[in-house]
């Protein structure tokens, strides 16, 4: 029966080519626009570290003085050196890492490559374990290296290939600002998007090439990249960052047991009270402990433009669908005589209804295929835009399936009313007028 309906649908579609083409085009345009924008939204609001994002938290404290104090204000988005180090060494969570961004002048050994600046991350040893960073060779450094301000480095695969080629970088020497570092690890495929652990240097496609111990970077006074917020007469003197009343570091902790999260937050409050008693903090305790996705949401990482475009595209799809409902209504009602004959020959209303829905489903699939093509063109256009997330706009399997599901589902919905109206034909009336 289904095959027969398909055959009928095919014949009907061929009979009114223009109308069918118009419907398919409308669906394709609506689906294409929606899927392009939804794919961008999907990629940008994705989980940067699946499986871990729920157990990794971003502790925030409020170490500022009372100037401009508003009780409802959120605490600063980063931590000071003193608080970061205190919480790091207290080690109340399962893993914790303190970090900040930077850029370092790399001096290649070979004369064929000019010196260049590489984006760097200055962090502590737990960074790699906590975030589950894959290594293609070697390992990260240890807590002992942190303490000793060791001249060791972990570098990205891209930098390793550029400087050391096929022989691999592990064990080699990397010259940075006239100092020799030993490369002890080369990362594998590690491109968290959004760049959740430090949003100050751009939200997307911002991988670092060089990872150094935080203590070493301070020892060598390597250049700091990112935001540096000071208050009072904190000054912005980079040599005294450790003692300045400035926040410029990110602290991340991993708490594997969900039951212990509340206890950690309690610890942060306790710590704030203690610091207040010591006279370092002045404000009442104001702590937050968001996990990765909550933090990304709070920081509104997904650009407003992208969300706006997705909404507008969905509105666009709605117009296209209403258009298709109208065209399908015209098409089905025009076939009332034919449907009347089928009814008179014994087809039930249900049969007619199903037959017409099969036809609209076919239109939907054709529209979905067209929409997929348009979405690919759309994403190609997005990738050519100068925005920082442009390179990420690719269709994945989920969105591919979603495209066809959306196309089929929305066209079937659009077919409901016309099919219902058409199957109400009175067989006798249609036969009489023949």
């Amino acid at each position: 029966m289904f095959a027969y309906y398909l055959d009928l649908a095919w014949r009907s579609m061929r009979r009114s080519k223009v109308l069918t083409a118009l419907m398919v085009l409308a669906i394709a345009l609506g689906i294409g626009a929606s899927m392009t924008t939804l794919t961008v939204l999907h990629v940008l609001s994705g989980d940067p570290i699946p499986g871990r994002s729920g157990s990794i938290f971003y502790p925030q404290l409020d170490p500022q003085d009372m100037d401009g104090y508003q009780p409802k204000d959120p605490p600063p988005e980063q931590v000071t050196w003193i608080d970061g180090m205190n919480l790091l060494h207290a080690a109340r969570a399962d893993h914790q890492a303190l970090m900040t961004g930077g850029s370092v002048p790399v001096q290649p050994a070979q004369a064929s490559i000019d010196p260049f600046y590489a984006d760097a991350r200055y962090t502590t040893s737990d960074f790699f374990t906590m975030f589950g960073v894959p290594f293609s060779g070697g390992t990260g450094w240890t807590a002992l290296d942190d303490d000793r301000k060791a001249r060791v480095a972990v570098i990205s695969k891209a930098l390793s290939d550029k400087l050391y080629g096929a022989q691999g970088a592990v064990g080699k020497v990397l010259r940075i600002k006239d100092v020799s570092f030993q490369v002890i690890g080369v990362l594998g495929d590690w491109h968290p998007n959004p760049h959740f652990y430090d949003l100050n240097i751009g939200n997307y496609a911002e991988d670092e090439d060089v990872y150094l111990p935080l203590s070493t970077s301070r020892d060598l006074e390597l250049a700091h990249n990112g935001s540096n917020d000071c208050w009072g007469r904190g000054g912005e003197d980079a040599r005294h960052f450790e003692t300045a009343s400035c926040v410029w570091l990110q602290l991340w902790v991993q708490i594997l047991d969900p039951a212990k999260v509340a206890a950690y937050k309690q610890y942060l409050i306790h710590y704030s009270l203690e610091q207040k008693a010591l006279g370092r903090f002045q404000r009442p305790p104001n702590v937050r402990l968001m996990n990765v996705m909550q933090w990304l949401n709070f920081m509104r990482v997904v650009p407003g433009d992208v969300r706006l475009q997705a909404w507008l595209a969905l509105g666009f799809l709605a117009v296209c669908l209403i258009n298709v409902v109208g065209l399908m209504l015209a098409k089905f009602l025009r076939r009332s005589p034919e449907l009347g004959v089928r009814r008179a020959l014994g087809a039930s209303r249900r049969d007619i209804f199903v037959q017409l829905l099969v036809e609209s489903g076919m239109v939907g699939l054709a529209g979905g295929a067209g929409g997929l093509l348009l979405a690919m063109i759309g994403l190609w256009l997005v990738r050519r835009q100068p925005s920082d997330y442009a390179s990420l706009a690719h269709l994945d399997m989920t969105m591919l399936l979603a495209t066809f599901t959306l196309a089929l589902f929305s066209t079937l919905c659009a077919g409901l009313l016309p099919a219902w109206r058409a199957c109400l034909v009175t067989p006798a009336l249609q036969l009489k007028s023949q």
């Binding site: 407003g304 209504l329 015209a330 025009r334």
Partner: protein, 412 residues
């Protein structure tokens, strides 16, 4: 004027189709009005003047590869600048820590008194010397340029100690409304001493015009400090009109002749300001283009929908049309009938659309920091859709008017 009552009676027999067309018109109107508003907002944003001699300004991003001491860096910068100014076709060259539309840079809070709790406003800071205005092609509208004795070199690690500044008119009038800012003292949160305003320029855009920088939009302050960092610095080079291409071609070799231990990126180490502008506003331009495309396609689809449904109605009513023609209706009467029918539906749809457009706009204003919809866009949207409806119905209506009276006697 045709009788409206029979048209309404006839419409009642096609409720589904009428409602569909009206809804389509309403949604289209709601979307395109807001899309127009977005386009206008973005275009206005990206055509804001930077206040500099854009066609002739070239920006050099000069990174130093070797560690240098402060005196070494100072000497290097001086030598570089002398060499750059000696290139044929160069009007002026200056060192700077940033430039308009760079994307990021240094901004600070401004206060009118030393111990003020809430800052008065914030501003972008440019660090340069007395050659900066000349290199950008920006003219003073009041006051004077920096004097040589006010200029010093400064490391990023030093405290901000400048005591004079040149500001934009916008910042001056924000700080000192209705009075001259010249000679007045202000305080910077990151600084240690009062800063006296000695000069005012009309417009000089900050290093960012993105939404995050809205707090200091068009507020710019120039301080007489050559900010030297391990990383390197920017050179702003202004060519004689029409000679920027030749100048650009000579910059790299000129600088490398001074000192080869530097990095000038092949891709964006030496950039025309026009390209910087292009990049800085890429996202806004993209949004405007996208909205434009959506509008055009939406209008086309709505028109196609109207043509499709009206054609169907015409073919359904051939007999009735034939009867009317046989009873004396002229071709013009039939044409007018369909045009009026469409006008009635369009007006209904537009009324609903105006409500939807305002609702959508209200939502966009609260969620996406958009401006309120102006009556002009709303009205032009309505007029556009009414015209579109009339245009789309024209072909089927003409076909209807050509139905011969003899159709009345045919049974099929």
């Amino acid at each position: 004027m045709p009788q409206i009552r029979p048209i309404l009676t006839a419409l009642r027999r096609h409720k589904a189709g009428v409602v569909l067309i009206a809804m389509q018109i309403a949604l289209t109107l709601a979307i395109i009005c807001n899309a127009f508003s977005i386009i206008q907002q973005r275009l206005a944003h990206l055509s804001e003047p930077t206040g500099i001699d854009e066609p002739n300004v070239v920006v050099v991003s000069n990174e130093m590869a070797a560690s240098m001491t402060m005196p070494q860096m100072e000497a290097q910068v001086q030598a570089d600048l002398v060499a750059l100014r000696a290139i044929g076709g160069v009007q002026e060259a200056a060192i700077a820590n940033a430039y308009p539309l760079r994307g990021n840079g240094w901004d600070d809070y401004v206060m009118l008194a030393r111990d003020q709790v809430r800052p008065t406003t914030s501003t972008a800071l440019y660090f340069s010397d007395d050659h900066f205005l000349g290199a950008l092609g920006t003219r003073l509208v009041a006051g004077r340029n920096f004097r040589p004795d006010e200029i010093q070199s400064m490391s990023v690690r030093d405290e901000l100690s400048a005591s004079v500044a040149i500001v934009t008119e916008a910042l001056a009038s924000r700080l000192f409304p209705h009075q001259s800012a010249l000679g007045k003292a202000i305080y910077l949160l990151g600084g240690t001493q009062p800063v006296t305003i000695v000069g005012v320029v009309r417009v000089l855009q900050p290093h960012s015009v993105d939404r995050w920088a809205a707090g200091f939009a068009s507020h710019t302050m120039i301080l007489p400090r050559r900010l030297l960092s391990d990383w390197g610095n920017y050179y702003i080079v202004r060519a004689q009109p029409g000679q920027s291409n030749e100048v650009m071609g000579k910059i790299r070799e000129t600088l490398f002749a001074q000192n080869p231990m530097r990095i000038i990126n092949d891709r964006d180490g030496i950039q025309r300001f026009a390209d910087i502008r292009q990049d800085a506003y890429g996202r806004d331009r993209g949004m405007a283009v996208l909205m434009g495309i959506i509008c055009v396609v939406l209008l086309a689809i709505t028109a196609a929908g109207i043509v499709g449904l009206t054609s169907f109605w015409v073919s359904q009513r051939r007999r009735q049309i034939g009867v009317r023609r046989a009873l004396g209706a002229t071709q013009g009467d039939i044409l007018l009938y369909f045009l009026t029918e469409n006008l009635l539906i369009s007006i209904g749809g537009s009324l609903l659309g105006v409500v939807l457009a305002l609702g959508l706009n209200l939502w966009l204003v609260t969620r996406f920091e958009m401006q309120h919809l102006s009556l002009f866009y709303l009205m032009s949207g309505v007029v556009m859709l009414l015209a579109l409806g009339q245009g789309a119905v024209w072909a089927p209506a003409v076909r209807a008017s050509r139905v011969p009276p003899v159709e009345a006697t045919r049974s099929v």
